[in-house]
Amino acid sequence: MASYPDPRSATLPALRLAQERHGWLSPEALRETAEGLGETPAYCQAVASFYDMFHLHPVGRHAIEVCTNLACALVGAQQVLEAFEAELGIRAGETTEDGEVTLRAIECAGGCGRATVVVVDHRYREPVRPEDVAGIVGELRAQS
């Protein structure tokens, strides 16, 4: 909070920290954040819900996010997404039964030159072809 002339600016960093600690922004996490910032929990919930990277519902320990925006779509992002769906046994937007992986489709991640871009736990994998999918999932599973 000290980095900013207005402590309210620390809201996004604070929410990020709370999410890292709790896994997702549960009501508890939001209350904690609110207390630390001197804001109301409603305010924190309102801000968090605006941004795609904040999760107000439980999510898997790992995230696999496939970009399906224009440039990636043009070179086969849908096939990559479907390959992940098959490999993980879930549809996009869902989390695996064991709570390990959440699969999502996302908007432009900024890697269009090396499409299809897949973001695995905040790190970019690019380009990804359907045949790379099994390897990526395997790597992730091996981590856990």
Binding site: Y4, L12, A73, V75, E107, C108, G111, R123
Partner: protein
């Protein structure tokens, strides 16, 4: 025109993430010179160079800096817009990843030019690696005592395209929902924390050291008169060699796509080109000779935008592409103003109907009418951006839309290159069908 190297100069030969390497090619020399100049002199150089903002709007940087309110009792802030989220653009990412010091140097020079000692770099939340690179570079700068009393705060976003809009960025930086502000008042007068603020794109700021180093006259020799200098073009889509290429402004589109980009792979034919990111009107192959500069592209009926060139081949259904674009804008609409909030949703509904083959000819007219009713009426440009893909694809590929109506289905019969592409908004639909009100 040859490929030029201004913003990405020396990045191929050396690891410019390291301060020593950057200094070895003259890095922070421009800063030293700049600190010996008066702020007005620096602004004069920038104005003389006619550096146009590389974030998308193309507003002259020098003129922007001269608008900073000088009589305010409040501190002046410099905000760097590193929220690159325009579909097709990935140039700022490369600049931050490969020449972070050039950006930092640009920040320090610009800060001096506007009398600011407080810089905020708003970097899109997804760019974690780039954030780390910048953070390390900044630490090097701090250790080397180069900051000169200027604080640079790296502030991470959290995933919202609208936060690339400068006033929405300010609200997000202030810890709020990223909603754009009405203008007037303008940021140079009332910006961050209601104080005079200069906001510029990463590339714009990263160009500043070279302008000071070369001098505005030399810099202005590059490119074309109305758009001097270079730009990093992000080439993507159906091309052999997608990637970032720094070129002099005025390079013909054809040269980028064919000579540098290697043309269309797999023997397909080129069908359409979006020259400046998904938010600008589409161009057709007959316009391949358009020079890549602000004025020429505008004359061709589109916009320079973020210099993100997306190439589309003939396997792509333009209705599907319009739908995918519309879904993007619906997802990213902040919801503050009525036409964008309601209009982007309506556009998606209409395009779904057309793609599904359930539409009539009057639906096509309705689609254009809705576009017309959003255009120019929204609080910020996102409304217009949502309209341009739809209205320009309709204008240039009307026959394809008509065919959907006539045939009661997609003429690509499931073979379009983007067939079945799933958009994030659809995932929300799935959730809300199960009763949840939250996204």
């Amino acid at each position: 025109m040859p490929r030029a190297s201004v913003v990405l100069a020396d990045a191929d030969e050396r690891d410019l993430t390291k301060l020593d390497e950057y200094r070895a090619v003259g890095g922070y020399g421009a800063l030293r010179s700049a600190l010996a100049l008066e702020p007005e002199q620096i602004i004069a150089e920038l104005t003389g160079a006619n550096l146009r903002g590389r974030g998308g709007a193309g507003f002259p940087m020098g003129r922007k800096a001269s608008l900073i309110a000088k009589d305010s009792p409040k501190p002046t802030y410099l905000v760097v817009n590193a929220d690159e989220s325009e579909p097709g653009a990935f140039k700022d990412r490369e600049i931050m990843l490969r020449t972070p010091h050039r950006l930092i140097e640009g920040c320090l020079i610009t800060a001096h030019a506007i009398g600011s000692t407080s810089v905020f770099v708003y970097i899109r939340g997804e760019y974690l690696t780039e954030f780390e690179v910048l953070r390390t570079a900044l630490e090097e700068v701090r250790q080397a005592d180069l900051l000169g009393g200027v604080t640079i705060v790296l502030h991470r976003g959290a995933g919202a395209y609208i936060c690339g809009e400068e006033t929405a960025l300010l609200d997000s930086l202030e810890g709020k929902r990223g909603l754009p502000r009405p203008r007037p008042p303008f940021p140079p007068v009332t910006g961050l924390y209601a104080s005079p603020t200069q906001i510029n794109n990463v590339q714009t700021i990263a160009t500043v050291p070279k302008i000071l180093e070369l001098g505005s006259k030399e810099f202005a020799k590059l490119g074309v008169k109305t758009s001097p200098g270079t730009a990093v073009f992000s080439l993507s889509g159906n091309v052999v060699n997608p990637g970032n290429y720094e070129l002099e402004l005025g390079t013909p589109l054809r040269e980028l796509i064919y000579d540098i980009g290697g043309g269309i792979p797999n023997g397909r034919a080129i069908k359409a080109i979006i020259p400046g990111g998904s938010s600008v009107p589409v161009l057709t192959p007959d316009q391949l000779d358009t020079p890549l500069d602000y004025n020429s592209i505008q004359a061709a009926g589109s916009f320079f935008g973020s210099a993100a060139v997306m190439v589309i081949d003939d396997r792509c259904c333009m209705v599907q592409l319009a739908l995918r674009a519309a879904q993007f804008y619906m997802h990213e609409s902040c919801g503050k103003c009525t036409p964008c909030r309601e209009g982007t949703r309506w556009l998606v509904q209409l395009l779904e109907k057309i793609e599904d083959g359930r539409a009539t000819h009057s639906d096509l007219d309705l689609l254009l009418s809705v576009c017309d009713r959003i255009l120019g009426k929204s609080l910020c440009a996102l409304g217009d951006f949502a309209v341009y893909p739809v209205s320009s694809y309709m204008a240039k590929f009307r026959d394809e839309f008509e065919a959907h109506v006539e045939q009661g289905g997609c003429p690509f019969a499931g073979e379009s290159s983007i067939e079945g592409i799933v958009a994030p908004v659809e995932l929300h639909e799935r959730k809300s069908l199960s009763g949840s009100v939250d996204g």
